[in-house]
């Protein structure tokens, strides 16, 4: 069927900020969907609050609303767009923006908004969404078509829950209805646990409803990715088998594609069931993910759930097979059938087929429990990982080990922290380190059978681990200078990394170890070849160079003779290194492809746009380690037509080539110096400059020369040095390890005791990697500056004023562009310093500088740090200014000049223009996933994602950002205020503002006294330890609508923690700095005006161009 002509405009809802359970995969799917529909000639309207995405780039959709994803704002967008299109067909595609988009679509439909503006749902109808999402309806439907499901009941109170659990027996699984990423899901093993967990689960469900389910713990878990078109053609794109059996959320499971342990009859039974499911649920078009559990000894198969939309798994399946599910789903939604859409990769065959794989794909999640001390690290039905890596190998073993080294744990192979005492615990209870413990156990001689019993992991998988162990043991038998080539080849074919070989042969010498092994391999001719991911196991020729390395005979991807640029990606998403860096990498690829370069992407994150085969000319789906990147480089640097093994002899006489390391965050930066030392031409700012900026001593010297002040600091490699340093620079001090991103393991210390404690417990340091001790500027305003430079000219992209004070990690602080209340003198100083720094560091590309401005003794500007590379704020600044910073930066790296792009700004020494609006970026935190963890902010970054709020005044922009981040700013009610003594002088003004806004004030004794002295009326309340009813009771009783609670000193006390925790549970916003409290007051004032304004990015940018 041809595409629908009764529709002319399509609204796509994105998934909003990156949170645990909803990550970059929806940028990938959403971008594909937007592009696919735009290329079909539809007018595409996009709503997404996340500025860090490619999908919110102005050229991806026709009109892009970076607005809060709430019913109110969406209704306004629909109203405006509906008016603009004057009654021509308007449709909403809700299936590419994760659970967020699906829930919103349901909400809009239920509130008759869609009906009112005559918007039709495409992709999935309301009834199908409800049938798939409502667990009871889903189970009924499954039973109706004769499929087995775990026994279950929906409950909305404790008593019913207890009764049903008694009937089916413990353990039972609890799943709150309508939450994403399994939020609130848990397993109760006894009645006592059930009471606690069920209460929390009921609370987390927006409809106060929980499914209690028969446990299928330990069963084999599978997923099928299914697509259906309007003619009822159904295909299975991919089968996925979970390495971790049922009981661990699939997002937290190691997963394998294709399924490895099912016979054809068993697989086809599942396939038949999946097809019946999608038909029964009635997903008319597009992709769905269906999960199954299979009993390991009886084969009983039950249906677990279905996602009637593209999902994390479908993104993974797309990358695993080369079949672009979201793109095809978008085309199916507008009426095409599968057989009408060509397969991009083979070109000659249609998309109506089932991909077949001649390789194995392994995904491993990336967890960051080190960021959340006190969080429960065991894995269960609630997802806790922040990102994932995928690796492709010809065998499971190779893929698994490639994935393991893609994780960048920072640990040297062979030195994983194994505690033999807890071996059994780590094996039995799913945990991020379970794989390491399994490998350890095998080395210790535990049998496959024993381990399979303890872990319920399929013996086939464990046997593969055993084979890896056997190869390793074989390797260790030979000394490095007498190792047979066959043994090296065997080890490489099993996926064992050069680093691990180095440790097996006790080759020390830090960074040079892998290099030594590489030389050995090359001299023996053991080098990788590259093969295509082609959807068809080589049955047809493929035209898309989507490549992976393996140790085989034939190389399929000889280099071309085009000039080329290799872009190193950011690896797995994590806190501090998120989608923003992927955004930058994609922009480099887009810009340089336009400039006629062959663009080559190296990355291992399946969730991203950068690993879409459309993004660059060549995609190497490879780990970002020295070994793997060098192999890609040597492969590409070869002379075209020279044999694959030419690289062995160092014949690197191919086409001109450059490598970009400054866009992918810390991952490629860590590789910059070793790569350069190995002869790799790094383009842009030199690795030496990048290194200089991170080297405390040399950088300090440079600042002195440039007459730029920085807070006094010291370097320590021992406890004594740290204490001495702290006293010398003056308390409070910020203590942190050198070479980190995202502020890992940073604290603010107020006394010797805390410094000693930190040095003893929190940090590893050495002569090579000292600890930095800096004087901490209290109550200072922090500012982020992004700049572009070609080494001569410099243009400031944006001066962003942080809303939280210095001391809160910049990634966790809201910030506003343009700045709100910085004086002209300060702005001038910021510019001058930035210019000087860019020129001194010979920055070619992007630079980010963080400043602190101390305001009480005059206004003094200090440099906190300089990062001569892409920063987290690049996409935000680009969206606010309409100038694609990363694209320009990429072009500067290839030798083009800033004058070509921004002559006016250079001439007038002006910053990029932000027009008449304020843009506020606010962070989003994963607190709800980590019960018990303190939610206080500090120098260590904890947010997973960000949103943007836009308005013509700061207050409204801030309020919108808060709403988008899921924080409810109240418009009336009571404000609880409790501040540290340092803040008490300033608190009165803020309290008065809230009184003016009509709020009642509640405070504990200390703060209350100050406010009462200023003549304000206060309701006094007890502290938690003083007695009851106390402030936490008030929060739980919904008597407090906003909390202003600045932490008292470095070690927040019990009271504050329980207040903040209660606030999270009861959805009361808790503000931890006075600066943010001021902003909140502005925001509330704006909200009280009651109007809802939305603006398309394209309109904002066009206005600015017109003004210019």
């Amino acid at each position: 069927m041809p595409r629908r002509t009764d529709i002319s405009k399509i609204l796509i809802i994105g998934s909003g900020p990156i949170v645990i359970g909803q990550s970059a995969e929806f940028d990938y799917s959403g971008t594909q969907a937007c592009k696919a529909l735009k290329s079909e000639g539809y007018e595409v309207v996009l709503a997404n609050s996340n500025p860090a995405t490619i999908m919110t780039d102005p050229e991806i959709a026709d009109r892009t609303y970076i607005e809060p994803l709430t019913r109110t704002y969406l209704e306004e967008i629909i109203r405006i767009e509906s008016e603009m299109s004057g009654g021509r067909g308007f449709a909403l595609l809700p299936t590419v923006g994760g659970q967020t988009a699906l829930n919103l679509a349901v909400e809009l439909a239920d509130a008759q908004v869609l009906e009112k503006y005559d918007v039709q749902l495409i992709g999935a109808q309301l009834e199908a969404i409800k049938k798939a999402e409502d667990r009871l309806m889903f189970k009924d439907a499954m039973t109706r078509i004769g499929l087995d499901v775990p026994k279950s009941a929906l409950v909305n109170n404790l008593r019913d829950g207890m009764e049903f659990s008694g009937k089916i027996g413990f353990p039972v699984i609890l799943r709150p209805s309508f939450t994403l990423g399994g939020t609130g899901g848990s397993i109760a093993y006894n009645r006592e646990e059930l009471v606690e967990l069920l209460a929390r689960a009921l609370d987390l469900s927006p409809v106060h409803e929980v499914l209690i389910e028969e446990s299928v713990l330990g069963w084999k878990e599978f997923e099928l990715e299914v697509m259906r078109d309007l003619r009822d053609n159904v295909i299975i794109v991919c089968s996925i088998e979970n390495f971790d059996p049922m009981g661990v959320h699939t997002g937290d499971s190691i997963t394998v594609a294709p399924a490895q342990t099912l016979t054809d009859r068993e697989y086809q039974r599942m396939r038949d069931a999946a097809i019946r499911v999608i038909r029964e649920i009635g997903v008319e078009t597009g992709g769905s993910n269906i999960q199954f559990a299979v009993h390991p000894t009886t084969g009983r198969m039950v249906v677990i759930e279905m996602n009637p939309r593209v999902s994390r798994s479908s993104a993974l399946a797309s990358k695993a097979t080369g079949f672009p599910i979201a793109k095809i789903a978008a085309k199916l939604a507008v009426g095409y059938t599968l057989d009408e859409i060509p397969n991009d990769i083979t070109r000659k065959t249609p998309a109506c087929f089932e991909p077949t794989l001649d390789y194995v794909v392994v995904k491993i999640p990336k967890w960051q429990f080190e960021k959340f001390p006190g969080a429960d690290e065991s894995l269960g039905p609630q997802m806790k990982s922040v990102g994932e890596v995928m690796a492709i190998g010809r065998t499971f073993k190779e893929a698994l080990l490639k994935a393991v080294r893609s994780l960048e744990t920072g640990k040297k192979p062979g030195t994983e922290d194994i505690e033999p005492k807890i071996l059994i615990q780590r094996l039995v209870t799913p945990h991020p380190e379970r794989l390491s413990y399994l490998r350890y156990a095998l080395r210790q001689g535990h049998t496959v059978k024993e381990l399979a019993k303890m872990t319920s992991i399929d013996p086939w998988f464990i046997f593969q681990l055993k084979e890896i162990t056997d190869v390793q043991l074989e390797v260790e038998k030979h000394p490095i200078d007498a190792v047979p080539t066959g043994v090296i080849r065997e080890a490489k074919r099993a996926g064992i990394s050069d680093n691990r070989l180095a440790s097996a042969w006790r080759v020390s010498n830090g960074r040079g170890a892998a290099e030594k092994i590489r030389h050995l391999r090359k001299s023996r001719g053991v080098i990788p070849v590259y093969k295509h991911v082609d959807t068809c196991a080589a049955e047809f020729e493929s035209y898309t160079p989507y490549l992976y390395s393996t140790y085989e005979d034939e190389d399929e991807a000889p280099p071309t003779d085009k000039k080329k640029v290799i872009i190193l990606g950011a690896g797995p998403n994590r806190i501090g290194q998120g989608i923003e860096f992927d955004y930058c990498c994609c922009h480099a690829a887009f810009a340089l492809r336009d400039d006629g370069y062959e663009t080559i992407m190296v990355n291992c994150n399946p969730e991203t746009v950068s690993t879409d085969y459309d993004t660059s000319d060549r995609l190497y789906f490879e780990p970002l380690t020295f070994e793997d990147v060098m192999a890609v480089y040597e492969h590409e640097a070869r002379k075209p037509g020279s044999p694959a093994h030419a690289a062995r002899d160092g014949v690197e006489s191919g086409a001109p080539i450059g490598v970009i390391v400054q866009f992918g965050g810390q991952t490629p930066l860590n590789l910059a110096l070793p790569l350069k030392a190995a002869g790799v031409p790094i383009i842009g700012t030199s690795p030496e400059s990048i290194d200089l900026a991170e080297d405390r001593k040399r950088f300090g010297k440079l600042l002195d020369e440039l007459r730029i002040p920085q807070p006094p600091g010291a370097i320590a490699t021992s406890i004594a040095e740290a204490v001495a340093g702290a006293n010398q620079v003056g308390y409070p001090v910020l203590v942190r390890p050198s070479y980190v991103l995202g502020g890992r393991a940073m604290v603010i210390a107020y006394d010797d005791e805390s410094v000693i404690k930190y040095m003893k417990e929190a940090v590893e340091y050495s002569q090579e990697r000292p600890v930095l001790v800096d004087h901490f500027l209290e109550a200072a305003v922090e500012v982020d500056v992004d700049a572009l430079s070609d080494g001569e000219d410099v243009v400031i992209g944006g001066i962003m004023q942080h809303i939280e004070e210095a001391g809160i990690h910049s990634g966790d602080s809201s910030c506003v562009l343009p700045s709100v209340d910085l004086s002209d003198e300060v702005l001038t100083t910021l510019r001058q310093y930035s210019f000087r720094l860019a020129r001194a560091l010979k920055v070619i590309g992007l630079m980010n500088v963080q400043y602190a401005i101390q305001r009480h003794n005059g206004e003094k500007v200090f440099v906190l740090e300089v990062n001569p590379r892409a920063s987290r704020t690049v996409p935000f600044v680009s969206k606010a200014t309409g100038v694609p910073l990363a694209k320009i930066a990429a072009r500067l790296m290839t030798g083009r000049k800033l004058r070509e792009f921004l002559p006016d700004n250079i001439e007038r020494a002006s910053d990029l223009d932000t027009g008449s609006c304020y843009y506020v970026k606010s962070p989003v935190f994963p607190w709800s996933k980590f019960p018990g963890v303190d939610t206080v902010l500090g120098p260590e970054m904890k947010s997973t994602g960000e949103v943007m709020g836009t308005a013509d005044n700061f207050g409204e922009a801030f309020a919108k950002a808060q709403i988008a981040a899921g924080n409810r700013l109240p418009t009336h009610g009571a404000v609880f205020i409790s501040v540290t003594d340092r803040d008490k002088p300033q608190v009165v003004d803020i309290a008065k503002r809230f009184v003016d806004l009509g709020f009642k004030l509640v405070a504990t004794s200390g703060t209350a006294r100050v406010l009462e002295q200023a003549g304000l009326t206060i309701e006094r309340v007890y502290k938690v330890k003083e007695g009851r009813p106390n402030v936490v009771d008030l929060i739980k009783g919904d008597r407090i609508q906003l909390i202003i609670n600045t932490p008292h000193g470095a070690e927040p006390w019990f009271d504050e923690k329980s207040i903040r925790r209660a606030a999270v549970t009861h959805h009361v916003q808790s503000i931890t700095t006075l600066a943010a409290a001021r902003a909140a007051a502005d925001g509330i004032a704006a909200l009280q005006q009651g109007h809802t304004s939305v603006r398309a990015l394209q309109t904002l940018h066009a206005q600015r161009a017109a003004v210019r």
Partner: protein, 377 residues
């Protein structure tokens, strides 16, 4: 070592039986179902390369055989599992193939081999775990009789007529063992050119009593069995030299409903006056999109054929094309405009492969019912 007739050599590790085997080297792209592939008689005379690199993972069991023994001459894989893990597994794949003296060559860059076959077409080859001189093996590969022009159906067919009476078995644990077969309503005589058991199971489950007869059984003897329908099975080799079968089909046409699969389909094509030709590297896999030309619906199908019927050679006054492969437009199904006769090139019985085309067995039953009705009427 594998030696191909064009001189290409692949070295790997031996599993299964020690020794040598000879055959036409073909590749199959199915992800699951290696045991069904091993035991499919259509692979007689062929060495099979599996594109899925992990083979043997789930072992083998007695229920998933497509014949009483494996028919492949040899097996080539990337990684051959030393253990099996599955609740239905009875024997490790390695031991199973060794029992039937079938050599396995593992650790091969199977993707390179597949690309070679894709570009140069299927060719003859030798696997040897004994001979180490490549030149000798290449010479041997060149001395193997070519598949083209070879009648292998005659070789693999049953020597004796027999009755088949077991239907499909569910793998659900809840099903009771010893299911009662449905009371048969129709009698089907199935020509065995290398018939797969799942075809027989599907027929029995479709309420047919099945008499399997040798490939060369003549039409009159078949009619003497008073069949309600005649089934023409799949099988190995070139359909062209099977002139006896073509002749028998011509004599049966119009006298009894006929349904043919794979080789059976090619024989129907030839019997109708059409021509067959050899595909460059055949269709072997479980993911081929086949379009039903009457409804425009697409089914994902299991394929295993090196030859195909040339649609341009068919008399269009008599023949209607019903199915076509969307990958390369190969003819995949036809039916007679006036007589009760249809056939498909692919495998509706799947095993291994998707079940999208099971309806064809219902169509066959419906055709028999209609034919019976007409006779009575």
């Amino acid at each position: 070592m594998l030696a191909l007739e064009d001189g290409r050599i692949f070295k790997g590790k031996g599993f299964g039986a020690q020794g040598e085997c000879y055959g036409e080297v073909v590749f199959n792209t199915s992800i699951t179902g290696y045991q069904e592939i091993f035991t499919d008689p259509s692979y007689a005379g062929q060495i099979v390369v599996l594109t899925n690199p992990e083979i043997g993972n789930y072992g083998t069991n007695d229920d998933d055989n497509e014949a009483t023994r494996p028919y492949i001459e040899g097996l080539i894989v990337r990684e051959f599992s030393r253990i099996s893990s599955n609740w239905r597994s009875q024997q490790v794949a390695d031991e199973y193939l060794e029992r039937y003296r079938i050599p396995v060559l593992a650790d091969i860059d199977t993707r390179a081999l597949v690309r070679h076959l894709r570009d140069h077409g299927v060719m003859r080859g030798v696997i040897s775990t004994i001979e180490t001189d490549p030149d000798k093996l290449i010479a041997k590969a060149r001395s193997i009789p070519k598949m083209d022009g070879t009648d292998l159906a005659k070789v693999v067919t049953t020597k004796q007529r027999y009755i088949w009476d077991t239907g499909e078995r569910s793998i659900e644990p809840t099903e009771v063992v010893g299911v009662k077969e449905p009371e048969p309503q129709h009698h089907v005589v199935a020509y065995d050119f290398g018939i797969k058991h799942n075809i027989l199971r599907k027929l029995v489950s479709g309420r047919c009593r099945v008499t399997v007869v040798p490939a060369e059984t003549n039409a009159e003897d078949v009619l003497a069995l008073k069949p309600d329908g005649v089934f023409l099975s799949n099988g190995p080799g070139d359909p062209e030299p099977c002139t006896y079968a073509q002749e028998n089909i011509r004599r049966l046409m119009g006298r009894v409903p006929i349904f043919g699969i794979c080789l059976g389909h090619q024989l129907v094509g030839l019997a109708l006056g059409g021509k067959t030709y050899k595909l460059k590297f055949g269709h072997h896999g479980g993911n081929h999109p086949v379009k039903q030309l009457l409804t425009n619906k697409v089914e994902i199908t299991a394929h295993n054929h090196n030859f195909a019927v040339d649609p341009d050679s068919l008399p269009m006054s008599e023949v209607e094309l019903t199915h076509v492969d969307l990958n390369d437009n190969t003819l995949e199904g036809l039916r007679h405009r006036n007589l009760p006769l249809f056939s498909v090139q692919y495998h509706p019985e799947a095993s291994p492969g998707p079940h999208d085309s099971h309806y064809l067995f219902d169509d066959f039953v419906a055709m028999m019912e209609e034919w019976k009705g007409r006779k009575i009427g």
